[in-house]
Symmetry: C2
């Protein structure tokens, strides 16, 4: 099965082309099965079984959301309302979601996560990382990851999200890096630790990440969201793919990131929803740090699944250019997941494409809040079929 | 034709019920034709020809967007990009859109405005005000309003948007309040003036509004967006339904609004897209001023059609509670248009309803950027039919 996508107003390749986004015009794309088989001048496009007319609109790589917490039950709308009335975000509300998640059936967790994956796909997200972290015991962490693995190949063991109520921190760290890791590793690609005030300190973080690495997992770190701390430097030292949040950074943190392969993943939805100061994206980008944008979708501090919304915030409130923001939401996310088959449109890449309802990638920031995703192809399959309607669940996003 | 809407998780009535939003639970709504015929306990709901199962979700009045500029051609994505790179917003770019609008055919203008009305409807907006203001000569202002009137009953003559390039300001004011008003009044309900730095001063504004009033039009004013000035006080003095923007207010301005029937219409999309400080909504609300939220949808300073986005900004960045923001986007907008048949759900009101993809109105702020509008009824007619798909145009919103 081959598909020709033509009448493209602007193609964002993140590869050969103009500027950071590798923009190309007057080109067409041919997909064979799950992969991109050809990109070239529209006039020379080969024949294909099907045709998608992009209507003169922009075509982009599907968004890569490299940071999301989707396996949970319940919501925290009331906590959100209280915070908007002035209460600070401390991360303590995570325990509310832990109680609801433990009480939920597998099917409830699967339905809720599947609903969010489908919602993200409708908004152009063709790859989404999914973390555990609301189970916080061996069985509930393991089942969270089993369910996450049904929906994505990018699964992350985050037993070290917070110390559960009533547990001794030292004993909990031993549990996480021992039996919990043992039970979870078969379903996880990544291990992650929330290294911050009120969560895990440097030694605890190092112990858990090191154990995870020995178990064959790759590393990512929740770092420096609430205060300056050791998280970012530890992420770099241990070779983590990404240090996520990066809201409070010292000069040493920035230097460490510059001289590393660790991506700084910025999550402006969290600052939006906790009414906190945004990370200084300009400082990072101007220093040469590799940056990704992700949603941090979770019921406590950032209940958005919208990558376009994060792009608009990144431009308005973090002073990224529209091109930088779009790049960070696609190629940046792919790099944060150490993937080279997604986040770019080139021959051999997975055929994850978005057709916008707009002529340019600029409109993702220029038209904030407007649903601009007209069509999504995921592994070559158009998802604007009936199954993409609200409340349906989709197959896995990986 | 009667329709029963039941299985409602939360009904926002803006009428009898709990709190500012008049919240009711365990109720059903019956629609007869274009109007609400019955609201009462779900167990006592009468039979109807059709049933809409709200699925336990929240049901709200349709949004009332009381400030939008939809009759124009072209876009200003490049200007937006430049502004995000640091150039200030001066309003001067309006002239770019004027040139494109004058050069467009009627059909081009009609298609573009219709596209935006349809886009707004998909996002829950069942009433949208539409201004002229990109013609700036007699013929182009009059045709802008003829086209606007095809799409909405809430049409506003804004010949006094800016003095067109090359015109003498005094002569232009005489044109606006003379022949242009004469040609436009048949298609307009409202007259509006941009009273601000670089636009029209107090005397000019007074002269135009007074002439419009004598012609039978009701008044609204673009006031105090860029600097403190006479706009708000003039709006109150002349009995305008709304003073729009209200970003820079003196204590005298606030006092004037408190003791008036003039609504302060806040347009946070404009501050978002021009990276300007937001209006102080708390100061206004705490003083007792009546507040509305609207999009200011226009290609220069706020190219969003999304009332949910404006609600999320109002909560995050203007410190309105979710209830205040939802009220301002529904009942507030209705008041800013001096309408009592919309913006509330009560017997006799127009059957404009939104079914959210969420259990509570809180989610409009709690889930920013996520398309949460599951179904819209406009004058009793469900709009989730094929005609509501992207790029279609809809019937008039009034």
């Amino acid at each position: 099965m081959s598909v020709l996508v033509d009448n493209i107003g602007e193609l964002v390749t993140n590869d050969d082309g103009e500027g950071l986004l590798g923009l190309r015009r007057d080109v067409a794309v041919v997909i064979e099965g799950e992969r991109i088989a050809w990109i070239g001048p529209a006039a020379q496009a080969p024949a294909a079984d099907q045709r998608i007319d992009a209507g003169g609109n922009a075509v982009l790589p599907g968004f890569v959301d490299s940071h999301a917490h989707l396996v949970f039950a319940g919501d925290r709308a009331a906590e959100f309302g209280a915070r908007m009335a002035g209460e600070p975000y401390t991360g303590g509300g995570i325990r509310t979601t832990v109680a609801a998640t433990r009480a939920a059936t597998d099917d409830e967790l699967r339905r809720n996560a599947g609903r969010l994956v489908a919602e993200a796909l409708r908004q152009g997200t063709t790859t989404i990382e999914i973390k555990s972290g609301y189970g916080l015991n061996v069985d509930d962490e393991a089942r969270s990851l089993r369910i996450a693995r049904e929906l994505s190949d990018e699964t992350t063991f985050l037993g070290a999200h917070v110390v559960p109520a009533g547990s001794d921190p030292g004993e909990y760290v031993d549990l996480v890096r021992g039996p919990m890791l043992e039970a979870c590793a078969p379903y996880a690609k990544w291990v992650d630790v929330f290294c911050d005030r009120g969560a895990f300190d440097e030694d605890q973080t190092r112990a858990i990440l090191t154990a995870g690495k020995q178990k064959g997992l790759s590393l990512r770190v929740h770092a420096n969201q609430l205060i300056e701390g050791p998280g970012v430097r530890l992420a770099v030292e241990l070779g983590a793919a990404s240090a996520d949040h990066c809201t409070h950074l010292s000069s040493a943190d920035v230097d460490a990131l510059v001289n590393s392969e660790t991506v700084a993943t910025l999550l402006p939805g969290a600052e939006f929803s906790t009414r906190s100061p945004y990370p200084d994206a300009r400082r990072l980008i101007d220093a040469g740090v590799k940056v990704a944008l992700a949603t941090d979708c979770n019921p406590g501090s950032s209940y958005t699944s919208s990558m376009p919304f994060c792009i608009a915030l990144a431009v308005r409130d973090m002073r990224m250019t529209p091109a930088e923001a779009v790049h960070a939401a696609t190629a940046g996310g792919a790099r944060a997941l150490r993937r080279d088959d997604i986040g770019r449109l080139r021959v051999g890449a997975r055929a994850d494409l978005i057709v916008l309802d707009a002529p340019s990638h600029l409109h993702l920031a220029y038209r904030p809040g407007v649903p601009l995703i007209k069509q999504v192809l995921h592994s070559g399959v158009p998802s604007n079929h009936p199954a993409a309607a609200p409340n349906s669940t989709e197959g896995p996003l990986s």
